[in-house]
């Protein structure tokens, strides 16, 4: 069905798109500005937070402090912490004028000596910056506190020790930087691909369809010898090209951010990801992307045919954009997605791409995702051609 007329429409729409500042910005500039800007902003926020946390003055209420005399010295040794003796746990930390409360139960030594379990609690509010900063400061004395209580228990049973042996039981992340990068990439790349495809194709789709109506160029086009299907497929091809280009520049922008920008700034070095993805993986990502790009483009073009004005078209298209974000986000939290998820267009591609990036592709998932999306793309293309051939839709008031 790709005739010379379809190619003529495709070429014209591509030229038109490449001369439209908004499309150029969305496809080519946005990813190379947005991602580095996001990285800079997040890093700046982290650094700022860390600096502020160092200088932040916090007040920690201590209930039962007399039970553990060394506690006062330990707290005094922590910079920026002021210990406030309290008789009981306050109903409200704010009204008690403290940011966190350390609670030592009365008669703790006797409890330990009897072999009862004893609990020392640090009460704080994660949702409160100052309170969580207080918790972070006091974290360093919790382990010594547990050791001191262990010594107390041992001494109550006749042991002559001042310090117990250091016994460490811990979990340790042994991921390589590249493995961590791959994991993070599998989380964010499928999501970003969905979003960037939608962002890249929106403007072109609406401009090529509703734009023709609004600029009063549609009649002239419909009076040419090209068939409605040839015209629409030419327009769809241009939108698909914009969608795929949007996705490719999106990923390139991400790589540029982590592999170039972040490495150029040592302060961000620790947060740099190793986003090395092999050519085979890239080809597979591209192949899974194609049916989705066709589907998304056909949906947007159909919307453009239906809409009466650019404003209406952009409003409808923004719903598609939000759906792409929503379905892309849906892929983030699913470690072992059910088979039914692979029947939902956009979400299925995001999930399949995650499997590709983590080398865990299941054949049934791949067949369902590609099959369903291809069928949905064919259906949407048919609907778009029908709408573009329907005068009551094209010329509705």
């Amino acid at each position: 069905m790709l005739t010379t007329k379809t190619l003529a429409v495709f070429r014209k729409e591509v030229v038109d798109t490449l001369r439209d500042g908004r499309s150029i910005f969305a496809i080519f500039v946005f990813p190379f500005l947005l991602y580095p800007a996001m990285l800079f902003f997040i890093s700046w926020m982290h650094m700022k937070e860390a600096e502020e946390a160092k200088t932040l003055e916090v007040r920690v209420g201590v209930v039962g402090g007399t039970e553990l005399p060394f506690l006062a010295d330990s707290l005094a040794a922590i910079p920026g912490v002021t210990a406030v003796p309290l008789d009981a746990v306050p109903a409200s930390m704010d009204s008690a004028g403290v940011n966190a409360v350390l609670v030592v139960p009365a008669g703790i030594h006797q409890m330990i000596a009897r072999g009862d379990s004893a609990r020392v609690e640090l009460l704080y509010k994660e949702a409160d910056n100052k309170s969580s900063a207080a918790e972070a400061r006091l974290e360093r004395i919790l382990e010594p506190l547990r050791l001191a209580l262990t010594v107390s228990w041992a001494q109550s049973h006749g042991a002559h020790i001042d310090t117990p042996p250091r016994l460490v039981v811990e979990s340790k992340d042994v991921s390589l930087k590249s493995e961590m990068g791959r994991f993070i990439a599998a989380l964010i790349i499928p999501y970003l691909l969905m979003v960037m495809m939608a962002a890249g194709s929106m403007q072109t789709a609406i401009d090529a369809t509703t734009g023709e109506k609004e600029r009063s160029t549609l009649e002239t086009l419909l009076a040419t010898s090209a068939s409605r299907a040839e015209l629409l497929l030419g327009k769809c091809s241009a939108v698909i090209a914009a969608a795929v280009t949007g996705a490719v520049t999106g990923i390139t922008g991400l790589w540029f951010t982590f592999a170039v920008v972040a490495k150029a700034f040592p302060a961000m070095g620790s947060r740099t990801l190793d986003l090395s993805i092999g050519p085979q993986t890239l080809i597979l990502l591209f192949l899974t992307l194609l049916p989705t790009a066709i589907f998304l483009s056909a949906v947007l073009v159909a919307i453009g045919c239906f809409a009466r004005s650019m404003r209406e078209g952009q409003t409808y298209a923004s719903y598609v954009y939000m759906a792409a974000i929503f379905l892309g986000l849906g892929s983030l939290g699913q470690q072992t997605p059910a088979m039914s998820r692979f029947y939902i267009p956009l979400l299925n591609t995001a999930l399949l791409q995650r499997e590709i990036l983590t080398n865990s592709v299941q054949t049934a998932h791949a067949v369902a995702a590609v099959g369903v999306t291809t069928a949905a793309a064919a259906l949407m293309l048919t609907i778009a051609v029908r709408l573009f051939s329907n005068e009551s839709v094209l010329f509705r008031n």
Partner: protein, 248 residues
Amino acid sequence: MIEVQKLVKTFHDRKRGEVAAVQDVSFVCPPGKVFGLLGRNGAGKTTTLRMLATILVPTSGTAKVAGHDIVDRPADVRRSIGYLSGETKLYDRLTGRELLGYFGALASMSSGAIAARINELSAPFGLGDFLDKRVGKMSTGMKQRLSIARVIFHDPQVLIFDEPTAGLDVIGARAVLTLIQDLKKRGRTVIFSTHIMTEAERICDEIAIIEQGRILAQGTMESLRQKSHQNSLEDVFVELVGSVNADH
């Protein structure tokens, strides 16, 4: 040649139900003649011309344009026509050359034929200076010349002009009317809609006065004057349209 037979077009309107935009319109326009559709805004001129250009499908009736039926062979009809509406705009982000090339390609012209045709039209239309300028940066006059060049670019046998002088100044309007007369001399079939009496008087060989989707009268200027015993086309028009509206 254009042969129109009992052309009808109804639209569905939510509030008004079925609305007849064109009712039983019939006429013939032979090659080398200019046929004028004269009517007020909303009289049914644009709908009739859109059906002839196969942009809209008739509810009933049919027409033959350059020998092709508009219902059965719309692609052949479109291959034979050039369509220009006064409301039609051009693509602002394309250059003049790209625009003509685009419509040439849509008319199945080869790239060689497109280049040759651009050269051919460049001098008579004065396109040379702004062929490589973007349409959005052209003056109204330049755009007008480009629009006309676009319509005749693939050398169609039949030309459909829907109020082509709408929004143009005197010079622009005159250029369009001169083109129509030139096309007539070259044996092309031209159908032309307008609500400007002087334009119709000046260039049309035959005129149909249309109101509320129906043709009230049609014939040469002379025959219309004789039938209605009026001196000017404007008087003929006012009398016919006035009587229809008085009846309603």
